[in-house]
């Protein structure tokens, strides 16, 4: 895991007195966009502080691009950071703020870099206004531009969509998508599941300081064999299909209503292999088959509840 652009956390813990905020977390992030999810107090922000070099782990190790992050300013050549606190120097204009970031990074052509970053977050119209007059969403975009100005391999964002209106959110999601698609590593925390679902299939879920699950949330859902999978099915003969399906060993229950069938399944693989055969043997035409609890919200609620 020494590739540049890779985030590596090795058995990292962080406690504050008696409170364990992050508990023995091990994770490795590669290129692409990853969502960091968890209920309030789960330890997301503490983990991001550990990753950004602004908090030493009480135990364990955190590396970015193969370099330790704590007491190592060189890591910021690789790393861009948007913290949760939205404080900015209110007396600077947006342009001055982003340009100062470019200069502090000692970029060879800071004006060009600042122009690129400001255009990327669509802040050009307000760039010469003092940031003290900005809305929350504008300040957030200025901070994202400052974090991106040196084109970092790794971008960490704590609640990046806070204060943005829907149009700004969509635009920021597009920017993060593009950055991830370019092979950069983007980790963002959010408590809004729809945002994570739209932006990233890959999640790291934290619950009570621990990493509860990691990976593509649909895959995570399929691995939760202790919870039945729910499928919404519509067919040419819902009643007949329900009768045939209850006989399958993988089916735990079937509900029939006006909208069709709700089938609870114990074994995802067996059911999806058996269903076409059942339809063919009974002569029933399948019109719709939807896994109805494979949303991130379902996965998240199952993880938190467990």
């Amino acid at each position: 895991m020494s590739t540049q652009g890779t985030v590596e956390v090795q058995a990292a813990s962080r406690w504050f007195g008696d409170v364990v905020a992050v508990n023995t977390i091990t994770m490795a992030l590669g290129p692409g966009v990853t969502g960091l999810l968890g209920p309030n107090g789960a330890g997301k922000t503490t983990l991001l502080h550990l990753l950004s070099g602004f908090l030493p782990p009480s135990r364990g190790e955190v590396r970015i691009g193969g370099m330790p992050v704590w007491r190592n300013p060189e890591v910021y050549r690789t790393l861009g950071l948007v913290t949760e606190r939205e404080a900015v120097h209110g007396f600077l204009t947006g342009w001055e703020f982003v340009l100062s970031a470019a200069r502090l990074h000692q970029l060879p052509r800071p004006e060009l870099a600042a122009r690129w970053a400001i255009d990327l977050v669509e802040l050009s119209d307000a760039e010469h206004r003092r940031m003290g007059t900005y809305s929350k969403g504008m300040r957030q975009r200025a901070r994202v531009a400052a974090a991106l100005v040196h084109n970092p391999r790794v971008l960490l964002l704590d609640e990046p969509f806070n204060g943005m209106d829907p149009r700004q959110r969509i635009q920021m999601m597009r920017v993060l998508h593009e950055i991830g698609a370019e092979g950069r590593t983007v980790l963002f925390s959010s408590h809004i599941l729809e945002e994570v679902e739209q932006l990233s299939g890959t999640v790291q879920v934290m619950v009570a300081g621990r990493l509860a699950a990691s990976g593509d949330y649909r895959t995570i859902r399929r691995l939760m064999t202790n919870r039945p999978h729910v499928f919404a099915i519509r067919s040419s003969d819902d009643r007949g299909l329900a009768t045939a399906l209850v006989a399958l060993p993988s089916v735990r229950g079937v509900d029939l209503d006006a909208a069709g069938l709700q089938v609870r399944v114990g074994d995802y693989g067996s059911f999806t292999r058996a269903l076409p055969a059942v339809a063919r043997n009974t002569g029933i035409q399948l019109r719709q088959l939807l896994p109805s609890d494979e949303s991130l919200e379902s996965v998240f609620s199952y993880l938190v509840a467990s």
Partner: protein, 237 residues
């Protein structure tokens, strides 16, 4: 010295309301010096009450307290310091720049006002003596109070305690405290440079020079070390 950090720090400092608190102190000093001169007061009480008791003991430390804590403290409190810290810059460069800005703003205020007051009261030489004493003290105070911003959450309170309790109260009651009193170093250096017999410090000149250096350099090194280990206050979010 990093010009970008210097510009942001200076603009942040000058733009804050509490910076306005600095204006009256040098003006009051000059008014007092002028009154002493116009009333034809004797030299010794004029030097003791105006230049030492007000100039060195009030104007210099309070100016340095406002400026020294102002270059780091507010940025730590509101989180804007991260804009500078999340950059590949040696922490030494950040601290040296911020302390240079603090000294660059504090020195003119202290040096010019003490020089003018000394000149009004007696002579250019007396003014020069107090200007040098004020310069040495201003640098030591600025770095000390700047370093306090990285050590504790309420640097202004501890700075006030140092000025009022340690130097002001204990300094008059317990002679040994003078060894750790920047105010006493300034008086000794002012007396030596001005050659005036009425300016008599309680600490010897070598001790004053060495200890002023220890305060200035020690506080700077301490601040650099603390900034290397700067961490965001505990959060469980």
């Amino acid at each position: 010295m990093n010009p970008t950090i210097a510009r942001i720090t200076a603009r942040g400092l000058v733009g804050r309301r509490r910076f306005l608190l600095l204006l009256p102190l040098p003006l009051v000093l000059l008014v007092l010096a002028t009154l002493m001169r116009s009333f034809d007061s004797a030299l010794e009480p004029a030097v003791t009450t105006v230049l030492i008791a007000f100039g060195i003991a009030v104007v210099v430390p309070f100016t340095a307290l406002v400026i020294g804590t102002g270059v780091l403290g507010p940025e730590i409190d509101d989180g804007t310091l991260l804009h500078i810290l999340a950059k590949p810059l040696p922490r030494r460069e950040i601290i040296l720049t911020k302390f240079a800005v603090a000294c660059g703003l504090c020195l003119p205020v202290c040096v010019v006002s003490l020089f003018a007051a000394g000149w009004i009261i007696d002579s250019v030489r007396l003014g020069a003596g107090f200007a040098v004493g004020a310069a040495v003290a201003a640098m030591a105070y600025c770095t000390l109070f700047g370093a306090l911003s990285l050590l504790i959450r309420r640097p202004v309170l501890l700075g006030l305690a140092y000025i009022l309790v340690w130097e002001g109260l204990l300094g008059n009651l317990v002679t040994g405290t003078g060894v750790l009193s920047i105010q006493q170093y300034a008086v000794t250096i002012a007396g030596w440079v001005s050659g005036s017999g009425v300016v008599d410090g309680r600490v010897s000149l070598p001790v004053s020079l060495i200890m002023a250096g220890v305060f200035t350099i020690g506080a700077t090194l301490l601040a650099i070390d603390r900034l290397r280990s700067f961490s965001i206050a505990g959060s469980t979010g």
